[in-house]
Symmetry: C2
Subunit: 454 residues, 2 copies
């Protein structure tokens, strides 16, 4: 028999009718193929959505139409500006001692090489710290190469240690005199496809071209270097940064308007933009699809929940959380009314854990939510430090309570930011569970009167 | 307790000393990393070996040097001619109704498109038979697309039904009026990398450009077509056939010369050429490495076995068994002295079965060999119809007895003929087992006096 623990009874926030609604929503979400159909539509009819490209604009049009079709009460866009960056093509090869092609991809935001490319001796560093420790001037005229290998972990914890070399590597290498920068891809696969992702140039340091090698090519380069002879490589990137040429994009926002406290907002978020190489079916097509489907299931109830459920599809996440920064300005006076939020930007598997980030009194209510999610295989983390994933991390820092959902992320970084981010990587069954979780979370937060800040 | 079945005793072909040698060879092969080191060297120092390219020539130089270094008694090359084909680049995209890029790869031997590419409506066929059934003239001005999906099977049996569309598809499509041909890749993966492989134009039919789409892109194209609107695609191939420009390559042959019957030849074979896109680490770097390592272990014994062991690294297998055809002419008078042969061109996993193709009396001896291989996990097939893999199939048809070894091929067609054919796909432990099997097979055949034709 199932015995309800004492703290739960004290925190009972839902009526019997609310609970019945949640059971019905769960059943609907677990049976419906809607989230998958949304992702199929986005992937097939729009495809990649790099900021400022026709695909990005097409994505915005698609999202507005889809929200209306799904029964949102209000749908609108909010303009976001960013700067122009075009990927162009990437060519890399080993010239000596053994000529071989390599598969490379420009890091997002990288400058290009000279038109004819550049050739230089390559110097390998086992990680970012080793590059950092290189003596000043020691890389003069050289290409720096960081060969750090990302570890596969269920919670994606291998990403942090690996991604440092992507963000800070190029400027660090340039500060030692390097003329270009290459790195092993931040990814756990062994496919001959590079992983892109944004890099950040430091002010006052020469911006050098920066690329990621596919993991098999990083293996090849390291094996070649390990033979002890000088290794010369060729790199050509036709990428272009135009920091003075703005592009316009938009956050797309839709609401299920609250029936009693419409000014109090429960947020479900994802980002609509993607890198250009795949079709953004996973990153973040899954987030887009799950949040839209969850809102639709709730909109299909006979009555609106008390608070407003706002789905925010952020623009320009990949290029540095640009859309959410605009959102924070546009909604400056409204942040305090964002009662709680959850973003979905790590989706490719089943959610196994919920990490809250709420006030101490609200924890009792979170346990109640956890009881509702437990049959879906979601456990409650003992931590209470969530700030929100991706975009929502900025709202979290600004005081919005959040929950983070943790999925089985073992495969996520096999596809992340590569050509391989396509619909076939999306598991329809996992999408159903993800949607059930987001549906229950947002209905629970919108229907109960809980102050998650307390 | 282990009881020796009666037929085995009758067929005892080895002395106690021979058996002791085999046990020692097995131990050596299972402990040695040599085969992996050979493949590492080939992959790192040579890389891809498309017929007529610098890599092909470099591969021949490498193989001759490697054979000498490994203690072969004789090493030589035999010239092979083929025609020029260059891959160039492949571009494909959906133009309407939803513009999207696709990843495509030219089929080997394909002609190019016009310089600016071509645009046409695409017509999907679920398999080659459906294309064959299309009415005459029905594809006038269209691009034919065969979307047949290869099945994953442990023995690679999905390949045959799928590869028909690669070999015969372009001419079949052209005969109905098509201006170009695209197909779902013959492969079991879902990576955004196309699978190349040779196509064959029929005489008297217009040679139209032919490409394989990566499997996720075939999914995308089929999903787009399934919406029911006309779908227009763009295809550009800069591939070039120059049937009148010969290229020179070579079979590379090495021998461990027999101590008593040097004129009787036991063959171990593999092909040295590869497609240009990967590094040919699997296809057929594994075969090259296993056969060379096996021969080396035998060469390291204090005495040569009675018969000659000949390792043939065939040229130009990928482009139509061209090297072995030259070999058959060059060795026309010697075919009858090829007492038995085994090729290794399907290697990426553990060998689980041996299929013989020998005379009825020799089957007893094959059972003896099977007893030696059983502890390695190799069972004896009840069939006796092997003709030899790949190149050796032609010697098999010409009467040479053969054995075929069957590995776990579940992953083989994930990488086959793609950029992904790289060293990381090679399992060092499987190579050890493969090498032990080939070492035992070739020593057994060379040291016993068995007439496998009888
Ligand atoms: Zn994302
Ligand atoms: Zn991302
Ligand atoms: Zn092969
Ligand atoms: Zn092949």
């Amino acid at each position: 028999a199932f015995s309800v623990p004492a703290p739960l009874l004290q925190a009972q926030s839902l009526t019997d009718g609310d609970t019945a609604n949640i059971m019905a929503l769960k059943k609907t979400a677990l049976q419906s193929n809607l989230a998958y159909e949304i992702d199929e539509s986005l992937t097939t009819e729009v495809g990649p959505r790099l900021v400022g490209t026709p695909g990005d604009a097409q994505g915005i049009t698609w999202a507005v139409a889809k929200m209306k079709q799904l029964g949102f009460d209000k749908v609108w866009t909010e303009e976001v500006q960013h700067v122009t960056w075009t990927r162009g093509v990437a060519e890399a090869r080993i010239i000596a001692p053994y000529p071989q092609k390599m598969v490379a991809i420009a890091l997002g935001g990288s400058t290009g090489t000279p038109e004819d490319g550049l050739k230089a001796e390559v110097v390998e560093f086992k990680d970012f710290a080793a590059l950092e420790a290189a003596p000043e001037g020691s890389l003069e005229g050289k290409i720096a190469y960081v060969s750090f290998r990302m570890e596969r972990k269920i919670n994606g914890a291998g990403y942090g240690p690996a991604v440092k070399a992507r963000g800070a590597g190029p400027s660090m290498a340039a500060s030692k005199g390097a003329v270009a920068y290459v790195m092993r891809s931040v990814g756990t696969d062994n496919n001959r496809l590079g992983h892109t992702g944004g890099t950040n140039y430091k002010d006052g340091i020469t911006r050098i071209p920066a690329a990621a090698l596919s993991n098999p090519d990083a293996d090849l380069l390291s094996r070649t270097i390990s033979r002890g002879k000088p290794v010369e490589i060729f790199l050509k990137l036709t990428a272009e940064r135009k920091d003075d040429v703005p592009v316009i994009t938009a956050n797309v926002i839709g609401e299920i308007t609250g029936s009693e406290k419409p000014e109090e907002i429960v947020v479900m978020a994802a980002h609509l933009d993607s890198w250009d190489v795949g079709t953004g079916a996973v990153d973040d097509g899954i987030g887009v699809s799950v949040t839209l489907a969850a809102a639709h299931h709730i909109a299909n109830l006979p009555e609106r929940p008390k608070r407003t459920i706002r789905v925010i599809l952020f623009a320009a996440e990949e290029v540095g959380l640009v859309g959410v920064k605009h959102y924070m300005k546009d909604h400056e006076n409204e942040i305090a009314q964002h009662v709680i939020g959850a973003e979905w930007d790590f989706g490719v598997g089943l959610i196994y854990e919920m990490v809250p980030g709420v006030g101490p009194a609200a924890l009792n209510h979170i346990r109640e939510l956890a009881h509702l999610l437990a049959p879906l295989g979601v456990s409650l983390s003992p931590k209470n430090d969530a700030k929100g994933q991706s975009d929502l991390s900025l709202l979290g820092k600004a005081g919005m309570p959040a929950v983070n959902f943790s999925p089985d992320g073992m495969k996520y970084f096999d596809y992340h930011h590569t050509d391989n981010d396509t619909l076939d990587k999306v598991d329809p069954e996992a999408l159903k569970q993800n949607t059930a979780v987001f549906t229950i979370f947002s209905y629970f937060a919108a229907q109960s009167g809980i102050d998650f800040r307390k």
